[in-house]
Amino acid sequence: MIRVQRGNFDVGAEMAAMSGRNIGALSSFVGLVRGEDGDESVGAMTLEYYPGMTEKKLAEIEAEAHKRWALEDSLVIHRYGRLEPGEQIVLVVTASSHRQAAIESCAFLIDWLKTSAPFWKLEERKNGADWVKARESDDAAAEKWSVKK
C-alpha cells in the first residue's frame, strides 16, 4: 500500500497492521529529518511532491518489489510539507515468510525512495532556504538495483 500524506504515522501500528498468511519476517525503515549535516546545523525541510505522479511512481516501485521478492505485504508512507528536525519523513515496511526477502526489498524500496521518488526538498539553513540538489552517491545506490529512474 502507498500513502502520501501531510500527517505523521505510527510505526508500531503500521507494522502490526501488515497482513499475510505466513509472515516470518518484517523489515522496516524510518527516515527522519536530521538536525545536523556534517558540522552544520540544519533547520526544518519542506517536501514538495507531484500529486498523482508521485503516488503512481511509488505504486510502480512497490509492484516491482513484489515482482522481485516473495512478499506477503508491503507499505510505503511518505510525508510532504514542512517537517522539523526529528520528525518522521518516510516509512517502508515489508513482510515476507523469509528474512532475506523482507530485508532486501525494504532496502530496495528505501534506496529508490531516497533517490528517485518525485519529491523536492527545500532545506532551511543559517543562510536561508535552498533546494537540495540530486546527489550522485544516491544515484549509485539506486543503480545497484538496476532500476530505471
Partner: protein
C-alpha cells in the same frame, strides 16, 4: 494543456500551474520550452539551464523530443531528490 512547475522552477516562474492552449507550431517538449522562455523574464531565468531540468508528460518522464498534444499534462521540475 495543463502546465505544472515544481520546486525552484515554480518559484522563478511565479506559479505552480497554468492552463494554456497548445501554442501554434509547438509539437514537442523542446519546442514548448522555447516558446515558454519568451513568455517573460521569470520563464527565461527558470528555463535557462536545461541540464538541471526534467520533464514529465501525463505523469511519465520524457525527453525534449517527446511529442505533445492538446490536453496533455506537462510537468517541468528539477531532478528529483527523493524523500
Amino acid at each position: 494543456m495543463k502546465l505544472l512547475y515544481f520546486a525552484w522552477l515554480k518559484q522563478k516562474i511565479g506559479t505552480g500551474e497554468e492552463d494554456i492552449p497548445l501554442p501554434d507550431g509547438v509539437t514537442n517538449v523542446g519546442a514548448l520550452v522555447s516558446w515558454l522562455k519568451a513568455q517573460g523574464p521569470g520563464y527565461g531565468e527558470a528555463l535557462e539551464d536545461l541540464s538541471v531540468i526534467r520533464f514529465a508528460v501525463n505523469q511519465e518522464f520524457v525527453d525534449l523530443d517527446h511529442a505533445l498534444a492538446e490536453g496533455d499534462e506537462v510537468a517541468i521540475f528539477p531532478p528529483v531528490t527523493g524523500g
